[in-house]
């Protein structure tokens, strides 16, 4: 596992590269794992780590990375915004291509990471062969509402001191909740870009194949899949039984690494399904 920074001097990104271990599989597949947003990144870190290890043991070269102003990458929370992150994803793709000789490239994105992957696929010179999109965010306003609701819910469950100060401040409106999403600052650009995000605004991804992974039927995603099929993309829809709680606080004992998710995602990345 190699930790490093890459990219332009004024917009460095943190990356972790794992070279595929099995010599026989070298020259097979390279995978780029794309983070979701905020607390969801904290939640999915362990799952991505386990998945990356498993893929590397199977010979897949794997790059994980943090977008600007997220994780270990430089930048403050309020500076992060999806348009910049789309460019970051494209840059990470270029970095992966420079480190791996694999002819087949797969992108895996969850939630907002899946949305960014859709957008980045149309700006990279060499499109990924396969996109795996796990519950992409396709309605930004709904996502902002979800973040606001879960922020308050997290505060309510996190404190247990009676008559605690935050509750009084919540009631008085002193907390600027619109700018906070479960512990992460939502900058102006992030909020306005998410507010403008709709299923209709998403392009048809470039690539040979697209796997959409959903826990439950979302008509809006099914419609998107059909629209992409009509435009000639090979789209596969897969149901994942496990209901991943993307925004749960760390202290709650929800599953961090659901086995069925790891198995399914490994198969999809390897092209075995």
């Amino acid at each position: 596992m190699t930790p490093f920074f890459f990219g332009a001097e004024d917009r460095q990104l943190f990356g972790l590269f794992q070279s595929g271990e099995r010599a026989s599989n070298r020259g097979g597949t390279a995978a780029l794992l794309c983070n979701p947003f905020g607390q969801e990144t904290v939640r999915t870190h362990r799952m991505y780590r386990v998945l990356a290890d498993r893929l590397a043991r199977s010979g897949v070269d794997v790059l994980r990375f943090d977008y600007h102003a997220t994780g270990d990458s430089p930048g403050e929370d309020e500076d992060g915004e999806p348009e910049g992150w789309t460019a970051d994803l494209a840059l990470a793709h270029t970095e992966l291509l420079s480190r791996s000789k694999a002819p087949r490239v797969v992108w895996l994105g969850v939630r907002l990471g899946a949305t960014l992957a859709i957008k980045a696929s149309i700006i990279v010179e060499r499109a990924p062969d396969t996109l795996i999109l796990w519950e992409p965010i396709v309605e930004g306003r709904g996502y902002l509402r979800e973040l606001a609701d879960r922020h308050v819910q997290t505060l309510k469950s996190s404190f247990n001191a009676p008559a605690h100060l935050w509750a009084r401040r919540l009631e008085s409106g002193a907390l600027n909740l619109g700018r906070e999403g479960v512990g992460f600052e939502l900058g102006d650009a992030l909020r306005s870009q998410l507010a403008a995000l709709t299923a209709g605004s998403l392009p048809r991804p470039r690539g040979h194949r697209c796997d959409l992974v959903e826990h439950s039927d979302r008509p809006i995603v099914a419609a998107l899949a059909q629209a992409w099929r009509n435009e000639g993309l090979d789209v596969h829809e897969t149901v994942l039984e496990h209901d991943f709680d993307w925004l749960a606080a760390e202290a709650l004992n929800t599953a961090l690494v659901p086995t069925e998710a790891i198995q399914l995602l490994s198969q999809l990345v390897m092209g075995d399904k």
């Binding site: 009676p162 907390l175 760390e250 202290a251």
Partner: protein, 284 residues
């Protein structure tokens, strides 16, 4: 300020980031430890923010994943978890010492990170400062009264009547059960929790060598730490209290969720870092 990604340890299995200050670093290195299973960025990325704040104050600051957490794999000859964590922290101090020439260190940790920091501080005299956030707590009679009162206040009339009936039933079945003094000092997390006597001896040892220790309790651990003076009351008469800074912040939660809470935490850590620095300078 510059950040460097690194791997360290005999197996190069420990993954971390050093935040370097501009200019010559202060003679005290800062190390930020994992909060439970959260990787080195910390809950809500707080460790990244703390590292950058400390680096702006001149401290070379390392955040890293201990073995088996985040991106760090266990070494080939892994020790039991707490011993391994102490070993990893020693490796991180060795790293900062070799790169920046610092010989004294401040450790910061939340929850399990606080407990790992506590163990490392006792095991290695290079630790000059320890900031424990929701670490070990010891109950008192007053704390139990406060918690009981809070529970009663939170109940509805119906719940109050039900609870009274249950108390009467319990008293009727065992009228002479008396709470022992031993029960009154039962630690809140018995598995790896030091006894009250052990904790007092440990804190005294840290105080005797001039280590600056802060113990911060959040509004999420009311059942363990219920009022500002609880530590003083639990250890009344112990001289280590003069050097222990105990903070009770009911408006900060265990995961430091509100941005305002994050800013408060960072300011408290900055202040502690300066006291540890001054203490180190006075000794050397």
């Amino acid at each position: 300020m510059r950040e460097i990604a690194l791997s360290m340890g005999p197996d190069q299995n420990l993954i971390g980031i050093v935040t370097e200050p501009d200019g010559s670093p202060q003679p005290l290195g800062m190390i930020l430890l994992n909060a439970g299973v959260v990787h080195r960025i910390g809950p809500h990325r707080t460790s990244v923010k703390i590292a950058r704040y400390l680096a702006r104050q001149g401290f070379a600051t390392l955040r890293f994943d201990i073995s088996g957490v985040g991106d760090s794999r266990p070494p080939h000859d892994a020790l039991p978890s707490r011993q391994q964590a102490v070993q990893d922290i020693k490796i991180s101090m060795d790293y900062l010492q070799s790169k920046y020439g610092v010989t004294r260190f401040g450790l910061y940790g939340i929850c399990a990170g606080a407990m790992n920091g506590y163990a490392a501080a006792l095991a290695d005299e290079r630790v000059a400062g320890l900031f424990m956030f929701d670490g070990y707590a010891f109950s008192t009679r007053k704390a139990r009264r406060i918690r009981l009162a809070a529970r009663w206040r939170a109940r509805s009339v119906r719940q109050t009547l039900e609870a009274l009936k249950a108390r009467i039933r319990r008293f009727a079945s065992a009228p002479f059960k008396v709470r022992t003094e031993a029960e009154s000092v039962v630690p809140v997390a018995p598995s790896s929790h030091p006894t009250k006597e052990r904790f007092a001896a440990d804190l005294q040892a840290l105080a005797d060598r001039g280590a600056r220790v802060v113990s911060l309790y959040s509004g999420s651990v009311f059942d363990e730490y219920s009022y500002a003076e609880q530590m003083n009351d639990a250890f009344k008469g112990h001289s280590f209290l003069a050097q222990l800074r105990c903070l009770y912040q009911p408006d900060v939660d265990h995961l430091v969720t509100p941005l305002d809470a994050q800013r408060q935490l960072i300011a408290m850590i900055g202040e502690w870092a300066q006291t540890a620095l001054v203490a180190g300078a006075a000794r050397s």
